[in-house]
């Protein structure tokens, strides 16, 4: 199978859906001529023109609100938010307007809109361009949240998101744009709420999102050298969450670590760990562990920044401790 970059996969997904449905359009800062700072959308304006690839002023709440209004009236906008950190600017339109329109109207209003943005630290961009803020929107009923872990997921989830009749937020890891993965030439979609068992194992379950899936896979390689068999699960979407696949895995392995690049406190790792504890408690042989980003604003210096996110070595260390029963002694 051919291999393409995550960037190219997103570009293909959007182009295919724009060809398929004339109501789909793109709107955001520097999406047309610039194709975004990461060049993900490069070339789309040449095919679809500035009527469908719309550069906006620097008015994030304004253009996200416009996308809501367009979605309410027959369009299917894809809004590009240049950095995930800017989500704080658009919270009213995303969480008070888009997320609630369907429910508050008794199902009469729909907001078929995609907000694509990014996450991920270690790009030396400091604390306002490095955050992973998906937990904030996952907290709000009415929004769906997709977290592609490779080019394959990036394409399939984006196409599904564009066809969904609800507001969907997609977080792409900005450090993965040039990472290649096998992606079929023929059309495919990825169903929301269906986790991918990336690697099967018997001793411990590593549930990981976005780029942390790679971290978990590398950790699993390290663990294999020690004779520990790790299962790696990629939920693909955290709203809706495929709880069943996660629980079935933990019932089999009896141990779990949840790995995610959002801040560890009050985040995705805590949510998934809690569901495992509530629903698979009597299958557990070790406490369910959380590994998120350190609870500090992301520092600039490489000497500090790399300390703040989970690493394969760090995950493997914790997994060994869990499997060997050492966590009980640490308390």
């Amino acid at each position: 199978m051919r291999e393409i970059t995550l960037s190219k996969a997103v570009n293909e997904a959007i182009a295919e859906e724009m060809r398929r449905d004339p109501n789909v359009f793109l709107i955001g800062e520097d999406v047309a001529e610039a194709g975004t700072p990461f060049k993900v959308l490069a070339g789309l304006v040449d095919e679809f023109g500035t009527e469908r690839v719309i550069d906006t002023p620097i008015s994030e709440p304004g253009f996200v609100g416009m996308a809501v209004g367009a979605a309410l009236t027959g369009s299917r906008p894809i809004v590009d938010l240049m950095f995930g950190d800017f989500i704080f600017l658009v919270m009213d339109q995303l969480c008070n307007q888009a997320a609630k329109a369907c429910y508050m109207s008794g199902g009469k209003l729909n907001v078929p809109m995609v907000l694509r943005t990014n996450l991920g630290a270690t790009r030396r961009s400091a604390a306002q361009h490095s955050q992973s803020l998906h937990a904030l929107v996952a907290h709000i009923p009415g929004l769906k949240v997709a977290m592609p872990s490779s080019a394959y997921e990036a394409k399939g989830l984006m196409k599904t998101a564009i066809r969904d009749n609800n507001p969907v937020v997609i977080f792409e890891d900005k450090l993965m744009y040039q990472d290649k993965a096998p992606v079929p030439e023929e059309e495919f979609l990825i169903t929301f709420g269906k986790a991918n068992i990336k690697r099967e194992g018997t001793d411990i379950t590593l549930i990981a999102t976005s780029s942390m899936v790679q971290v978990a896979e590398k950790a699993a390689d390290l663990l294999a050298k020690d004779g520990i068999s790790a299962e790696v699960i990629d939920p693909r979407t955290i709203v809706p969450l495929d709880e069943e696949t996660i629980l079935n895995s933990v019932r089999k392995t009896s141990r779990a670590i949840v790995i995610d690049e959002g801040h560890q406190s009050y985040g995705i790792t805590g949510e998934i760990a809690s569901r495992i504890t509530e629903k698979a408690f009597y299958h557990l042989d070790a406490p369910v562990l959380r590994m998120g980003a350190m609870d500090v604003p992301v520092p600039f210096s490489p000497a500090l920044e790399d300390l703040t996110v989970p690493t394969p070595e760090g995950v493997a260390d914790r997994a060994r401790a869990a499997v060997r029963g050492e966590l009980f002694h640490a308390a």
Binding site: S59, G62, A67, V68, T73, Q93, A101, S105
Partner: protein, 337 residues
């Protein structure tokens, strides 16, 4: 025709609309007034919970601003939006049912007073967030332009919203892209207890249109004909593809901001002064003076609206509560595209 008028001097409303249309407009103003009085009364009797924001005194602004709109044209509304719903053709029984939290309400009881939406009439919804509807209106206008529907969006907002960033971003983008939207500011002089003098650097909010290269006009929001003339011109401009406008209707809410308001920030004299400028009898007088209606017609219209309201309240009271089994329904639309 009263003395002193020559043909060209007739008020705009008389020149622009036929008798049936004017009669329907007056009827809607009475419906809004009596709907809100009925809502207030129902609240006092414990039939409605929460709070509500009444627009009593502002009826001319709501009705006159929707005169040139069809059901295909859109509006976005505000927390003080009951009048806009009625002006856009909402059914009073379903509105009351929504207030009463009933399944037959416009939003099946999920939205309440601040969130009534009726897409079949082009009403994209009232909004609990000040300024929240401004970018949404611009997006609806973008949709209309892209899809070639010919629809115009009227965006209602209050004086308070004109100090939100969303206002400035929305006006700028609407102007940059020449979108078919009309920004209608209902300046009732206070954002809760804070007067526009204390909150707003410009004397007239319409002056802010200049910053976004669009026409801006301030009119007496209690003068039906003046509002209709200004907004109709703005709607025509939008429909012709010439872009957005800002119309400021200066008006007054007789009641407090919401049920919690103790009205200590304004004088009894000020309130009495504005109540003497009641827009409904003023419009009725205009219609009688120009031979559109007789005094007896006006009395009949008022009496008929009272019956409509009584029936609407009865419908709401007799309707069923939502089924508790449906509490999580419609968080997401389950249909595939």
């Amino acid at each position: 025709m009263p003395d002193g008028y020559r043909d060209g001097n007739l008020p705009y409303a008389i020149r622009a609309y036929d008798a049936d249309t004017l009669r329907a407009a007056l009827r809607k103003m009475y419906l809004i007034r009596k709907f809100e009085e009925g809502a207030e009364n129902s609240y006092t009797r414990g039939l409605i919970h929460g709070t509500m924001h009444l627009s009593i005194g502002q009826e001319a602004s709501a009705v006159a601003s929707c005169m040139a709109l069809s059901d295909d044209d859109k509006i976005t509304s505000t927390h003080r939006g009951h009048g806009h719903c009625v002006a856009k053709g909402a059914d009073l029984g379903r509105m009351f049912a929504e207030f009463f939290g009933k399944e037959t309400g416009y939003c099946r009881g999920r939205g309440g007073s601040m969130h009534i939406a009726d897409p079949t009439k082009g009403n994209l919804g009232a909004n609990g967030i000040v300024g929240g509807g401004l970018p949404i209106a611009v997006g609806a206008a973008l949709s209309a332009k892209r899809l070639g529907t010919g629809a115009v969006t009227v965006c209602f907002f209050g004086d308070g919203a004109n100090n939100e960033g969303a206002f400035h971003e929305a006006l700028n983008m609407a102007a940059v892209w020449k979108l078919p939207v009309v920004f209608v500011c209902e300046n009732n002089k206070y954002g809760m207890s804070t007067s526009t003098e204390r909150s707003t650097a410009v004397k007239n909010i319409a002056e802010r249109a200049a910053a976004y290269a669009m026409p801006g006009v301030t009119v007496d929001g209690n003068d039906f004909s003046a509002v209709a003339e200004a907004v109709d011109a703005a709607v025509a401009r939008a429909r012709a593809g010439d872009g957005p406008s800002l119309v400021e209707n200066v008006t007054y809410r007789w009641r407090g901001h919401s049920k919690s308001d103790r009205n200590r920030y304004r004088t009894k004299e000020e309130i009495a002064d504005w109540m003497a400028r009641d827009p409904i009898p003023a419009f009725a007088r205009l219609l009688v003076d120009h031979g559109v209606l007789t005094d007896a017609d006006v009395a009949d219209i008022e009496a008929e609206t009272e019956q409509v309201i009584a029936d609407a309240i009865a419908f709401a009271a007799d309707s069923a509560d939502p089924d508790p089994a449906d509490v999580a329904r419609d968080v997401y639309n389950p249909a595939a595209a």
